[in-house]
């Protein structure tokens, strides 16, 4: 194995809260002296500091795609910002053996008055390429972005999809051996997303190394060779995509994430023992599209709660809600009549409904009698499950939200 192309050693980043925007000159002078003194050795750990990253070490080899996942605030973006040299680490270091290109958000570095061609050059130069390099790649960039007819049109007349494609193409075709991708691929239409993911795979096959931050677990799972799971600024694990995603989803369904019932309520409602297909929370059941998926939990109320209803939302890996069900769907509302004692509630999703992928289950309870209709109890994410398509010809190649098989009838 050759040298790693990215080596990250004990990288930490501290942000000081409250140091936002302008300050007075006096604070400035004081903090300057504090910094000088602090540099001598004593480590202050005041409460207005947060460590966005803490002692993160890993290595990436040429040709490898490493996905970075974690909850909001876990330090994914901070890590990428340090590696792209937008911000400095507080301690530790990273060695990059090659130029770095970042996939920019749509419009970043694009000037609306300039033509597509001018913007390709400007954006490429911002990413550190020379005009010669860009000129050599121009045809590829334009062909991939599919904007050749509009190359000399100001970008302000482009649709947002065209701008996105062009921005992606610039970064994807320029010859930096390290590519940092932050959520860019989760926008745009489905067709382009797939095209972009394929291009990322191709770049890796050519020997480029790619760091991919995404909430799209499906994309990360499909693309990445290894996945880095960050949690509160530290590495939770660096493992195969399956293992890391499982660890992440197990984490998301941790009971600590359950919000308590509102304290002013005169009744109590507890939800426990949430299971998907009999598998308890914290483990991710692997299901087939051909199975009916049963979701069950125990519910215990202190008394009859009039107006109580429940709401279940199923979200896919993109965070899109694909299915909503509540207790009014099949009258009478069964929750309105439950009294003290533990009951088991079961909801069944019919087979061949959800497309293959990972899903999270979000549960909440409301009270119709409360005027502002606020949710009275929010267990939140109570479980996750993975659905796979084993039986149909298309299997995982099937795009879309459903796995329903339709009959083609010829008369």
């Amino acid at each position: 194995m050759s040298h790693p192309i990215i080596e990250v050693e004990h990288l930490s980043k501290r942000y000081r809260l409250g140091v936002i925007g302008a300050r007075s000159l006096r604070d400035e002078v004081r903090s300057f002296w504090q910094n000088r003194l602090g540099a001598i050795g004593e480590e202050s750990s005041s409460s207005d500091e947060i460590w966005a990253l803490r002692d993160v070490s890993f290595a990436v080899h040429p040709g490898e795609i490493v996905g970075i996942i974690g909850r909001n605030g876990a330090g994914k973006s901070t890590l990428l910002k340090i590696l792209s040299r937008i911000t400095e680490p507080t301690s530790g270091r990273a060695i990059l053996r090659g130029k770095v290109a970042s996939l920019l958000e749509v419009g970043t570095g694009f000037h609306p008055e300039l033509t597509g061609r001018e913007n390709v050059f400007l954006n490429g130069a911002i990413l550190g390429m020379t005009r010669r390099e860009i000129a050599r790649k121009l045809d590829d960039i334009v062909a991939f972005a599919d904007v050749s007819a509009f190359l000399d049109t100001p970008v302000k007349r482009y649709s947002s999809g065209m701008q996105l494609r062009l921005a992606f193409s610039v970064a994807a075709f320029l010859s930096a051996p390290i590519l940092l991708v932050d959520e860019t691929i989760s926008v745009g239409d489905f067709g382009f997303q797939n095209q972009a993911l394929r291009q990322i795979r191709k770049l890796a096959d050519e020997g480029r190394s790619i760091l991919l931050v995404s909430h799209n677990l499906y994309a990360v799972g499909e693309l990445a060779d290894r996945v880095l799971l960050l949690s509160s600024g530290s590495i939770e694990c660096l493992a195969t995509p399956d293992a890391a995603i499982r660890a992440y989803l197990g984490k998301a369904a941790n009971p600590s994430a359950v919000a308590p019932a509102s304290p002013d309520a005169s009744y109590e409602l507890t939800v426990s023992d949430c299971r998907v297909q009999g598998t308890p929370r914290g483990q991710q059941p692997h299901l087939s599209c051909d199975d009916a998926i049963s979701i069950s939990f125990h519910i215990q109320a202190s008394s009859i709660i009039s107006g109580l209803y429940g709401c279940l939302e199923i979200q896919n890996a993109h965070g899109t809600t694909v299915l909503v069900s509540d207790t009014f769907d099949c009258p009478p509302n069964v929750l309105e009549t439950i009294d003290s004692g533990s009951r088991t509630v079961t909801i069944e999703i019919p087979p061949r409904l959800l497309a293959a992928g990972t899903y999270t289950i979000d549960l909440s309870f409301g009270n119709r009698a409360v005027l502002d209709k606020r949710r009275i109890h929010q267990p939140g994410v109570i479980g996750t499950f993975l659905v796979q398509d084993f039986r149909s010809m298309r299997q995982h190649q099937r795009a879309g939200y459903f796995s329903t098989l339709l009959t083609w009838r010829v008369d």
């Binding site: 400035e28 590696l83 090659g98 570095g109 008055e113 050519e206 480029r208």
Partner: protein, 291 residues
């Protein structure tokens, strides 16, 4: 193990990211590597100016022309401030030529951080490229205005009676050098202001005001020779004074130029530029974390 395509040839470049030393470090090699970005940013400045306006490049000429006309009427004809025996239009235009370049460079560079916060938050490149591109694209406006001046110069020199009262002065050859000193001074002040406005946003309102004050503290609408000796020393503190005078000397053969004055201006320019780069660099390290 697949290898990175040979055409890139970038594998040898090792970048080490670690907490930087707070003191000055300027990576000239890196600036050089990003020279194409400098060129494209200059191109962008022009392309955008030309595309957004009907008159396009004419604005570069119209602005000083109108200013000169106003000065001629207000200060020349009404206030009757002398112009060293020079045709007022040439006198004002020569002063504005230098001052416009200076003021526009200071003004535009002082907004470096505030105007580019979004871009700076997304992608790395040597930040100094942005103010450098501003100072460089200002040179084109300067050249256009110099062409305007030359046209007036030819007219007054050969087609009016005032023509024998002035001529090209000694040191016309030094014009590019003078411009470099003005650019260094403007860039230095602009870098300081950009660093300060990144921290204290309200200072950005002060910049145009200070520039206006600065113009009156520079011999542009009045000749240095008419300033009473009791005030002349105050004016001599302004590094733009010897520079403006040297421009007038080079273009019109009139002006108070001393080696000491020019040496002073050059020293101030270098000092301001070096400390300005330091301040810019200092703020650059923390700016993104505080936006």
């Amino acid at each position: 193990m697949p290898s990175v395509p040979a055409e890139t040839g970038l594998m040898d470049r090792e970048i080490v990211i670690q907490p930087r030393h707070p003191w000055f470090s300027l990576d000239f090699r890196e600036l050089w590597e990003y020279r194409d970005l400098l060129i494209l940013l200059i191109h962008r400045d022009f392309a955008v100016k030309f595309k957004q306006t009907i008159l396009g490049p004419a604005w570069f000429i119209l602005q000083p022309l109108l200013m000169t006309l106003v000065f001629t009427v207000v200060f020349g004809n009404i206030a009757r401030i002398p112009t060293d025996g020079l045709p007022p239009i040439l006198f004002y235009l020569s002063g504005l030529l230098t001052w416009n370049y200076f003021a526009q460079t200071v003004n535009a560079t002082s907004a470096t951080f505030t105007a580019n916060a979004h871009l700076f938050g997304k992608v790395y490149f040597p930040r100094l490229i942005v103010p450098l591109s501003v100072a460089a694209s200002g040179v084109f406006a300067f050249l256009l205005q110099l062409a305007l001046f030359t046209a007036f110069w030819i007219y007054f020199r050969f087609f009016t009676l005032a023509g024998d009262r002035f001529g090209v002065g000694a040191g016309l050859w030094s014009l590019p050098l003078l411009l470099v000193v003005v650019a260094a001074l403007a860039l230095g002040i602009g870098l300081w202001m950009s660093a300060l406005t990144a921290r204290y946003r309200d200072l950005s309102h002060l910049v145009p005001f200070l520039l206006q004050l600065g113009m009156y503290a520079t011999p542009i609408i009045y000749p240095f020779s008419t300033v009473p000796p009791s005030w002349a020393w105050v004016l001599s503190f302004n590094p733009m004074t010897p520079l403006t005078e040297a421009f007038k000397m080079a273009l019109l053969g009139q002006g108070l130029v001393t080696i000491g004055g020019l040496g002073y201006a050059a020293s101030v320019a270098i000092a301001v530029l070096v400390t300005g780069m330091w301040a810019f660099h200092y703020v650059e390290r923390h700016f993104i974390d505080t936006v």
